[in-house]
Subunit: 331 residues, 4 copies
């Protein structure tokens, strides 16, 4: 996927939200009984960018954060993690960084209490998106939540136009968060529009249902429709049933889950996307990329945060080496 | 352009605003001195639909109007003019029909005082757009103003998806009205997005500049970029310098203006579009279509309204027969 | 009511909305069949100010209008009518002047189609209210609609503080318009608050019910509660049953209706208030003031507009001289 | 202040916000370097109610909280602290509880990062205020922040009407928070309106400047204007210069500060108000009440929270017994 004689500055530039996770320190109890919270950087595209940086990739980030202590924390953390934060803009209109208080009642009962009213990330404007920045990357990763509101929506659509103009591959992580949207029909309109303009689309089966505005949609029909447009690779995740990577040439490769010692379910999808893109960028086979994705996911769900928890290449490869692939699905 | 063995119910279905024009009865004076106003149906796509109906075409309309006396007037008028108004929906949330008070100080000094706060036409929702209705038409005409606000914006984008699904040609009349938009960069994002999905794009040079977010753009570059996508025909109007119809195959046909006894400038573009599409639907040549367009335009600018003033085929053909085409441009 | 040795510049300064009425020229039919509308200045406090000016009183006006042809028309008309318009401010944020399209199906079936979304009059700010202007008047007339929204609400409350500080009598015309308010309980809170700070309160029995947040309230209880505060005189109108003027000292004077050749019902209350205040300022008895009010009202309902129609002293006194007072109620 | 032969259920009912404080666990450093936060109930009127309950008073609370884990925590905590929480309503429209992240860089450098966008407490509606509840209390304590937005503003104004109707004393704690208000002139309008209707007004000199819309106002003028209306007692705090309690009869009593081992400055005013009201309710002299207030304040600033930190009567009386009063001011 790398151009022959051109060296890009970044493998991936991610666009979207960078937020604060406040994870309950005392776990396995209701949040109203929790007295202490630990602060982490969060937000799907921020987590993916951090994950890729931990895997040694040169990564950039386009986003908007509050001009306050939470914003400073995010910028510092991402810079230290190795993400270029030159395009992480401080909001000058008083908008706040989004918060996610996480409640971990048990490994299978996790919930999030969100603070996302008028959050800074959704106030990124088209004027703030740099064509020069995007053209220096091999891939532009878009998080679906960036489409939820004006002006971030238009900033995102413009970023994708820039990517097309400069032959930058567009990766669309559906990342559907119902609370940011006003209606599912509106979500479907923009998800469909962006998917048609993306080279790789990644999401759960439920998220593709949202994109198509259907219930219990069918993978074959989904990929048939999208392959009429830009997409070359579509990755549909089915939870414990594993995932399916569809290529435009008709080939489908199946992924499986690795066994994990689950602490919580947050962050699984972000580590999955980061490791998958890393493997693709390294020229690995699709099957191998799915292994990297599943291994990274298994590691993150066993840890307390989603960003700090992002694994190294060695950790991922240890999981792949130690566990058997594909004979059965682990829960 | 008509399918071989399929007969469509409508030639054109127009989508967008249907409003009220309140034209000064006492003209050639400032509006603040005007005491009496005459009421007409207005709004670019409504005028085009009425114009096409007057030319004998089967036409439908998708839009939203107020559930009050102004809305009833519009629905009655359009039905009587021969436009199918079954998809002209009454707003149930108290939104008003837009108003345009027109001031005619002199033929060259016309201005409009708009009432467009929270107008019903911009509250058309995706759920209210019927796929069945659109598929029964040969063409779907979109007015650019319908893209200005959520939810009409999403309703419009969805209508275009339906059109593509059913091989309905999409006509995009740019119809740029600055007061409906929050920023030109936002306009550019959506205009560009929709133009890429349209078969025919019609606008003034200034409107194409808005679409491209440039100043003093160049026709050659404009059409080169758009012909990479869906467009087959692009019509760029240069005022008194005439208009240029660009085809994907590289041919450009020039149109000229006919002489007119100008009363006011309103409505010229709408009659132009109506007569142009009529001629195309009749299988006329592009040059002939440009003659119909210019003749219709010359007739409407000499009359008091934009909707009631729409000419008949005979009136248009009389202008074409009487005047010389192309030797010079008339102001 | 005039101070002994102090001469005030104005008898009355009115605060609130000045709008446009668009009255159907063709009457006795539904508005959707009406093609022509005649433009007048409208809005309750504007009408009262114009009415007082026509009766020879020095009158000022505090309000906000659109910076467009409709605003210019209002300012010109009020100035020519003799109202000081130095405090009639042009809105610099694009807010429009309110519109009222009137439908006169029959003398008893009149309705109004309002355009009041984000209207300029409700954007008057506290900073724009001049203490110096208010202190030069004997009376400050407040229209209830000015309380409907922030910032006009706070501008009004501040104006009343200025009036108290400088011993200017506060007249509260309830002027309840449901479409400007979000809830009746909110209306009740502000109506009650302002009534407690007013010297004279004028309204219909239905409007006092809104003030008290009750249904079918009782005049005795209404005045008992309000007389615990600032009010000295309370005027409650009961339609065809006449009106009742309650004084703090316990005296109640009844008013009756004069016979009228009714064209429409709009404007009756405004002419009533104007003539009543005029008579009080002239030192007439309360009974005589009620006669002036009823006579003015009878004259306006027989004419096409509410503002231009305001009668002269001679016209009012002719009605009083010609008709019998009090033996029966005329419809 | 207690009625002779009537026993009220509550000494004080407080109305306003109940929120979440998230206090940095690691103190004396910038917040962006803080990883852990401890959760407490916060918000001025909630703190005062909790403080009064800790001093053994029967206390009620009227407010609105989020229907989520943060809301449940508040309701549980206040109930356990002894505050009647029957009128603490869960918001059914998705509004969140306000958050205050506190940064303690040093005892004198404390700042707060607020999350107050569309917070539940400002969505208390007039319909949700119970006249029956208010009438069962001796005092109604209003926090100024409750006036910042509609509908909480109207709910507050209505609560005060109920208090007057049933001879419940109104206590107004100015509690000015600039970030909740759109303009200082708007704040002045409502602060002045409510102060005129309150029996006791408590605030800092700076807060009274806001009320009067002046800079560097003068206590004598402040109390002269307010004593023309309802107020009987006005308490103006001058930081290290102590505080002044003005009575309508002209007497002024001065309060002094006690020495404290300051950890942070938050919560000082709330403990001050709680202990002052407690002493008044106990029939103590004004000077003694000022001692209780200062002692409580000295205790809270030496502790980590504002709510849990509220002192007992014994703790307060120990401070009063141990320290000298009035010979000098302690910082």
């Amino acid at each position: 996927m790398r151009g022959d004689n051109e060296v890009k500055k970044f493998s991936v530039v991610a666009l979207g939200r960078a937020c604060i996770d406040l994870n309950a320190v005392e776990i396995n109890q209701p949040m109203e009984e929790t007295a202490t919270f630990k602060k982490y950087v969060g937000g799907s595209p921020a987590n993916i960018a951090i994950g890729l940086a931990k895997l040694g990739q040169p990564v950039g980030f386009i986003g908007k954060i509050s001009d306050d202590q939470h914003g400073y924390f995010i910028k510092n953390f991402m810079s230290k993690a190795g993400v270029d934060s030159s395009q992480l803009i401080f909001d000058q209109d008083g908008h706040k960084t989004g918060l996610a208080f996480t409640e971990i009642k048990s490994p299978s009962e996790c919930s999030i209490l969100m603070y996302r009213q008028e959050v800074a990330d959704l106030f990124l404007t088209p004027d703030e998106v740099s064509e020069e920045y995007i053209m220096t990357s091999e891939m532009l990763l878009i998080s679906g939540t960036a489409l939820a509101r004006t002006p971030s929506r238009e900033a995102t659509l413009l970023a994708v136009e820039y990517a097309h103009k400069h032959d930058v591959k567009v990766i669309f992580e559906l990342d559907y968060r119902p609370y940011t949207w006003t209606s599912t029909v509106e979500t479907a309109v923009y998800y469909n529009l962006l998917a048609q303009k993306s080279h790789i689309v990644i999401g759960t089966r439920e998220e593709f249902d949202i994109l198509e505005n259907v219930s219990e949609g069918n993978n074959q029909e989904t990929v048939k429709k999208l392959f009429q447009h830009t997409p070359e690779l579509i990755l549909i995740k089915h939870g414990v049933d594993g995932s399916f990577a569809y290529e435009k040439n008709g080939v489908c490769t199946r992924g499986y889950a690795y066994k994990a010692d689950v602490l919580k379910t947050f962050g699984a999808g972000d580590s999955y996307a980061a490791a998958f893109l890393f493997a693709l960028l390294q020229g690995k086979t699709l099957e191998n990329a799915l292994q990297y994705a599943s291994a990274a996911s298994a590691l993150v769900v066993s840890r307390h945060s989603s960003s700090e928890a992002m694994p190294s290449v060695a950790e991922i490869e240890t999981v792949i080496a130690k566990q058997t692939w594909g004979d059965k699905i682990h829960v």
